[in-house]
Amino acid sequence: MSRRFGALTALAVVCAAVELVAGRGMSPGTVWEVLGGGGDTTERHILLNLRVPRLLVALGAGACLAVAGLVLQSALRNPLAGPEVTGVTPGAVLGAVTATALGLAGWDSPLAVVLAACAGGCAGAALLWLLAGRGRGDPAQTAVQGVLVSAVLGGLTAMVLLVEPGELGSVVQWLVGTTEGRVWEHWHLLWPWALVWGAAAWLLAGPLTLLRCGDDIALTAGLAARRARTLALLCAVALTAGAVAAVGALGFVGLLVPHLAVALFGADLRVSLPGAALVGAVVVCGADAAAQLSSRLLAAGLDSGRLTLPVGALTAGLGAALLLVVVRRTPSRSF
């Protein structure tokens, strides 16, 4: 187990290193020079005020989303529950966009954005709960209903954006999820929030592991299943809201990374929650590095400077492909 943690940490370091040197504008040699204390002002600025915070935000957001997904999947006992398909992510986007449009929260008052995203995420989850109601037994049905909820929330977001078209340009990037232009402010916002709620999630790891076994076993073991589930859901919503406020709606990370983590670290959440955080960080950071590299190659190939590939597009494409493979590979099971 500790060997796997070690390997993943090494992978995270490799991804981080690639991410640091992947961008346009500086050669790897210059990066090394700046890290050693040299380089001119511009180079130092690029590395220390743009690339490092971007890297940290990517790591943090990935960890948040992965933990939120694992908590959701365990609490709801639904392998298809992720923040994206339970209405939490679209709700958080709607909350943040609405608060911004109403002037309650600007990009200059980031905490308000997080709180609005949190409220929106709760609203989205509540909407799904209303819709699913008693028929919560079938995981796939809940997922499908989650898609419906996302459609409604997306419609509302669209309305808000059209009433307030000035925000459109920056928000569209954020709808797909991007780490473009993240600076130290974003990181200072993200880490305390992620730390608090991540710690809360880790404290809940024991009850969550019991919840995974089913309500009956959890009740027999003396767990107040309902209260534990509510707390866990709150935790997941808060983590998702933090990640959404920082990087936007990164697709499929919260749905698929937990499966990877459970496959690597087993179903004991005391181990696999930190594992999921690590895997999520590696995945998002790696995807961001790949997006940076490919947009650099594309820009060189197509000779157009404004072409950038947002990391959310990459994770969504990758996640969709993985989901297709998973659905294909389970022919007899109808979920």
Binding site: Q141, G155, L161, L162, V163, L175, A321, V327, S334
Partner: protein, 402 residues
């Protein structure tokens, strides 16, 4: 979560007043008439209803005449035609896949079409207007075909829907990449288009639709009877001489031909293909696929026309896209209809089911209307026991095919 399919007798016993036989045409006509008059007369300039005829006859000599004949009438016609196409396509897909949630939005058809239209806009390729529907059709066929092939035809409905969601998400991501690349002005245009808007459409847009309708209408007439056989399930349909997989692909092709040109003109007007068929079923649960097809087209037209009124006027002078309204109203209403129809069926299913495997509700549509299917059903049920206890036939059929 199921096709509202209680047996005729069960419905008649507690049929609310709204479901009386004459209610459906009456309600549809009244709604359509009221919203048409609103669409033609409200706005700036205000043309009171009694002066509408005069304004149309005056033609382009007065301001009111020009506004009505050149802007409002084509918009109304476009709303009706687009709604009818989307409603019919929604029913075809739902019936062919035997899945009450198989709507273009869930299968990646809509996002494929939108991608086909938006890509040249962003990449600044200038194309003749006639090519646009072709691109939309290509995109829609790509999205829908990818979903159906990846999910395996006729697999469990949830698997198809999840695959569709994945495909739609991937296409959506591609679209967002395009949008990120676009500059601010293009972005506004694309965003409005992507939500489905009927604003500033003229007669040219309407006439562009006719050739496609000429192709699609006969195909619909041919496929309607096949649809009522498809409702029986793959095994029964094949026993009756319908090649289920081929019919399903044909249904998808028809739906693509119906949806793509509409998408090319006014964008993906979301969830009309979900609401309209459920309205048709809710009003007339005992009818067969053929009558539902007609009513679904009618309700589609009604839904888009009604939704276009608040889209144009609610936040005037800013126009809101009609697609946002249909998504906001259509999804909750459709889900409510689906569940209210499903409740009666669920009661019957629980009464009948004994085996451990209960089918996902709505997987198994039980024929109630048309004559031939009914006979087949009765033969079948003699040997198979209660309807609710039978597992969904989809997976078995495909496994055999493999």
């Amino acid at each position: 979560m199921s096709a509202p399919e209680p047996g005729p007798a069960a419905v008649r016993s507690r049929r609310p007043a709204l479901r009386a036989p004459a209610a459906q045409p009456l309600l549809a006509v009244v709604l359509l008439a009221v919203s048409s008059v609103c669409a033609l007369s409200l706005g700036t300039p205000d043309v009171p209803p009694h002066r509408l005829v005069g304004a149309v006859l005056e033609g382009d000599t007065t301001l009111a005449g020009i506004v009505v004949t050149e802007l409002r009438v084509p918009r109304l016609v476009l709303a009706i035609v687009a709604g009818a196409c989307l409603g019919a396509a929604g029913l075809v897909l739902q019936e062919a896949l035997r899945n009450p949630l198989a709507v273009p939005e869930m299968l990646g058809v809509s996002s494929g079409a939108a991608l086909g239209v938006a890509a040249p806009l962003v990449l600044a390729l200038s194309l003749p207007a006639a090519v646009q529907p072709l691109l939309a059709i290509g995109g829609a066929a790509l999205g829908g075909g990818l979903t159906l092939l990846a999910a395996g035809l006729g697999r469990s409905p949830s698997a198809v829907l999840l695959t569709g969601a994945a495909v739609a998400a991937a296409l959506q991501a591609a679209l967002l990449v395009l949008m990120v690349m676009a500059d601010q002005l293009d972005l506004q245009l694309i965003y409005r288009y992507l939500l489905g808007s009927l604003s500033a459409r003229t007669w040219d847009d309407v006439t562009g639709l006719w050739p496609w309708l000429l192709v699609a209408a006969p195909a619909l007439v041919v496929c309607a009877p096949v649809l009522s056989v498809m409702r029986l399930g793959d095994e029964d349909a094949e026993a009756l001489g319908v090649r289920a997989q081929r019919a399903r692909l044909a249904a998808l092709a028809i739906a693509v031909v119906l949806i793509a040109p509409v998408t090319a003109v006014c964008g993906p007007v979301a969830w009309v293909g979900f609401l309209a068929p459920h309205l048709a079923r809710w009003f007339n649960p005992g009818a067969g696929a053929v009558r539902w097809l007609c009513w679904s087209a009618v309700w589609g037209a009604v839904v888009v026309t009604v939704a276009d009124v608040p889209a144009r006027l609610a936040l005037a002078p800013v126009e809101t896209p009609v697609g946002a309204w249909t998504a906001l109203l259509g999804v909750p209403a459709g889900v409510a209809l689906m569940r209210s129809g499903g409740r009666t069926r669920a009661r019957r299913a629980t009464a009948g089911s004994t085996a451990g495997h209960t089918p996902a509700p709505g997987v198994r549509a039980v024929p109630a209307g048309a004559g031939a299917p009914q006979d087949a059903r009765e033969e079948q049920s003699g040997s198979d026991g209660p309807v609710g206890a039978r597992p969904a036939p989809g997976p078995t059929a495909t496994e055999d095919a493999r």
